[in-house]
Amino acid sequence: MATRVVTVDRNLRTGPMPIVRGMALTFKNMLATWFGGKASTVQFPEEKRKTSGRYRGVHILTQRMDGTPKCVACYMCATVCPAECIYIESGERPEKDIEKYPTRFEIDLLRCVYCGFCVDACPEEAIVMSRENDLVGTTRAELIIDRDRLMDRNKLIEHGPGYRPEEHDVRRPVRIAALERLRKEHGIVPGMPQRG
């Protein structure tokens, strides 16, 4: 397409009217915010902004049906992590078809950039992300979260799952313990991410 260059008009007439109109606009917006409910802000922390079902928050390790970690300690997430924040140590499992599991799995959330590459790299749907984004710690050590905290986090009750693969591993189903407990104890089924 032909390039159409337009020269901006810098000789617009100015005068007091634009100021008056601007003032009117300001009051209009003010009234719309007060009475029309058109505020863009939320009353944090009482009220929280809704995040999408793809939100990349603090990680979750999923579990097998027997409650053991789904992770097979393949180190893919640790390899792909641009922030180098995942630390894994592996142990052997008696089952022939699983072989390995993580004896240690730690994520340094102070280093993590929440890019979600670990989720993309995981071949087992073992690591997914939650929508939790307001994690607070009083020491650095508190924010290096270990395997058991990653597997079962109470915070999920509030937030629900976020970024995860578009397809489920149907042959080896996973469960997210916190969600299950939530359903059992409170009868709540948090909104699952919409899949496009």
């Binding site: 397409m1 810098r10 100015t14 601007g22 793809r54 929440y114 590459f117 976020g162 578009e166 397809e167």
Partner: protein, 573 residues
């Protein structure tokens, strides 16, 4: 480089004008001409460096007036050379706005004496770039007016981008530089620091001004407070892993940085993303551009005392953030692109969401227009303040809305369309005087044009996959990884070995919110790039700032800096 050939490119059969002219003028001093992925690269002897650059600038057939980028490259392990005769390369990128072509001019310097004559006499913009190359590589530019460290601090030892620099060291700056310039003892002028932490400075950078009453008599800028050496980190990351780092360059429009990076790597690989991915990239890039312009205009007028337009415009920005969140799960650090496409398809209600956001953007642009454009309080602060002429802007290497404000209609989206921009009908707004008001008007008009582009892109949003079907580039679908061994092995190989591009070097460029955002990638065929250089648009723009405000009022300096929209993440990298 190994890819350099003495022969003209075989594809066209005719040598490019730049190579022809330089060959005729320089004779044996022209060392080689290479053409890789359509990028013309000319290597000349060190003695002919300045002459070659001047020829490229002044020859009527070439007319490379726009200075884009200058950087160093360390070819330490290049075993084709004995004694590291050509260890350091200095690479210059130029563009001609009249003939619409790029050129890459290179020269080499030996390890023993890395001296290269300065180009500051040819291009004004070369000043800081040469300082940066000295700082990071230790290449001495003879004749440079002020060859000092730029991005690192004065207590820093060594040159960090050198391949043999031992990483992990800490250099502590015990006594920061108090005075950036010499002030005579009997001077009656007052030395004022603006920044590094000042509400009007839009990031952490510092300007020291010598005040004569309300007028700035002299001034000096200092940057590097946010320097983290992204380029060094990129040398130990795979092409895929660099994507989150690009989000942090221009963090006001982070999607566009990733878009530019993906396109540069795709150029290196010689692949193209599927049409749906390209269309979505265009839509989100244009939304990011709007967001960036909203910040530029909104914060600029806040500095001048008008808080209403800021609050009005930031409503739309919030809506755009929500759209990005719905697509990729993050508001600011999106990391949505992948080499060869996108991380995942957009949500089902993408079009409806976009339409809603468009409506909101249209509303706030109109409101801000009503509040500002004809407002005499505002125009008297902006009109004829910080005027920048056409030729000077080109010599500084200005790009984007700032260059267009000065009257040069250079827009990468029009002149070198990428991602399917050629399908969309939009106008390029330009100014006449090149002052703050022109820059403001250009940005306002660009937001409207962006809406036009988004509208067209949404209308013909193609269906289909969002990532290339190339097993060496894109991860296989998860359902296959879970169920079949070939896909699983493919997945493992790609994660562990990364994407392996061919050896070569490309300069990929896109129209970022602040102008031409370029990535110069040198690949040696390994999974990590050998060298990545970001050509940050606001580095050139901010470089001109001290000379723009010398002689101006201090209050005008605040108006000018906001209109330049300098983003520290991109400036300091």
């Amino acid at each position: 480089m190994a890819s350099a050939t003495q022969e003209p490119p075989a594809a066209s059969g005719v040598e490019a004008p730049a190579a022809r002219v330089l060959r005729a003028e320089l004779g044996p001093q022209l060392r080689s001409v290479a053409d890789f992925r359509g990028d013309l690269a000319i290597t000349v002897e060190r003695d002919a460096w300045v002459r070659a650059a001047s020829l490229l600038r002044d020859h009527p057939q070439l007319d490379f007036k726009l200075f884009l980028d200058l950087c160093g490259v360390d070819q330490l392990d290049d075993d084709t050379d004995e004694g590291l005769r050509d260890r350091y390369e200095v690479v210059l990128h130029l563009y001609s706005v009249t003939h619409k072509h790029h050129v890459r001019l290179k020269t080499t310097a030996p390890e023993a004496a890395p001296d290269v004559p300065t180009l500051t006499g040819v291009y004004k913009g070369a000043n800081w770039f040469e300082r940066e190359a000295w700082d990071l590589y230790g290449i001495r530019f003879t004749g440079h007016p002020k060859l000092e460290r730029l991005l690192t601090h004065d207590a820093f030892v060594g040159h960090p981008m050198r391949k043999d620099y031992p990483v992990g060291q800490r250099h502590v700056l015990k006594s920061p530089k108090v005075q950036l310039m010499d002030v005579p003892a009997d001077s009656e002028h007052l030395l004022v620091n603006i920044g590094p932490s000042h509400p009007a400075m839009h990031g952490t950078f510092r300007v020291q001004a010598l005040m004569d009453g309300e007028t700035i008599a002299a001034c000096e800028a200092e940057i590097g407070y946010m320097h983290r050496n992204f380029e060094k980190m990129a040398e130990v990351r795979t092409y895929w892993q660099i994507i989150p780092y690009t989000d942090r360059l221009n963090y006001c429009s982070s999607f566009m940085n990733g878009h530019g990076w993906a396109l540069a790597v795709e150029k290196l690989l010689g692949i193209q993303a599927p049409p749906r991915a390209e269309a979505v990239r265009v839509i989100l890039s244009e939304f990011s551009r709007i967001m960036d312009h909203i910040i530029a205009i909104g914060t600029n007028v806040v500095d001048l005392g008008a808080i209403t337009p800021f609050f009005v415009m930031f409503r739309a920005r919030e809506d755009i953030y929500e759209l990005l969140d719905a697509c990729c799960g993050a508001r600011l650090t999106v990391s949505y692109v992948r080499i060869g496409g996108l991380a995942q398809d957009v949500p089902e209600d993408f079009e409806a969401r976009c339409r809603r956001v468009m409506k909101s953007v249209q509303e706030v642009v109109d409101q801000a227009d009503g509040l500002l454009t004809r407002n005499p309080i505002f125009t008297s602060r902006f009109k004829d303040v910080g005027a920048m002429g056409k030729d000077e802007a080109l010599s500084w290497g200005w790009v984007g809305p700032c260059l267009r404000g000065s009257g040069v209609a250079y827009d990468v989206r029009k002149d070198h369309p990428y991602s399917g921009y050629e399908q969309y009908d939009f106008d390029v707004p330009v100014g006449t005087v090149g002052d703050c008001y022109d820059r403001y008007l250009v940005r306002m008009e660009e937001m409207r044009q962006s809406l036009r582009i988004i509208d067209q892109a949404l209308r013909k949003l193609p269906s289909g996959p969002v990532i290339v079907d190339d097993k060496k580039v894109a991860l296989p679908p998860k359902s296959e990884v879970y169920s079949n061994i070939e896909a699983l092995m493919n997945h493992f190989k790609l994660v562990y070995d990364g994407i392996l591009p061919p050896p070569g070097e490309v300069y990929g460029y896109t129209e970022g919110a602040n102008g031409e955002l370029g990535y110069y990638i040198v690949s040696r065929g390994a999974k990590h790039p050998w060298r990545v250089k970001v050509r940050p648009p606001c580095f050139n723009i901010y470089q001109a700032f001290p000379s723009m405000i010398t002689g101006a009022l201090l209050a005008d300096a605040v108006a000018i800096i906001g209109g330049l929209n300098v983003i520290a993440g991109e400036l300091d990298r």
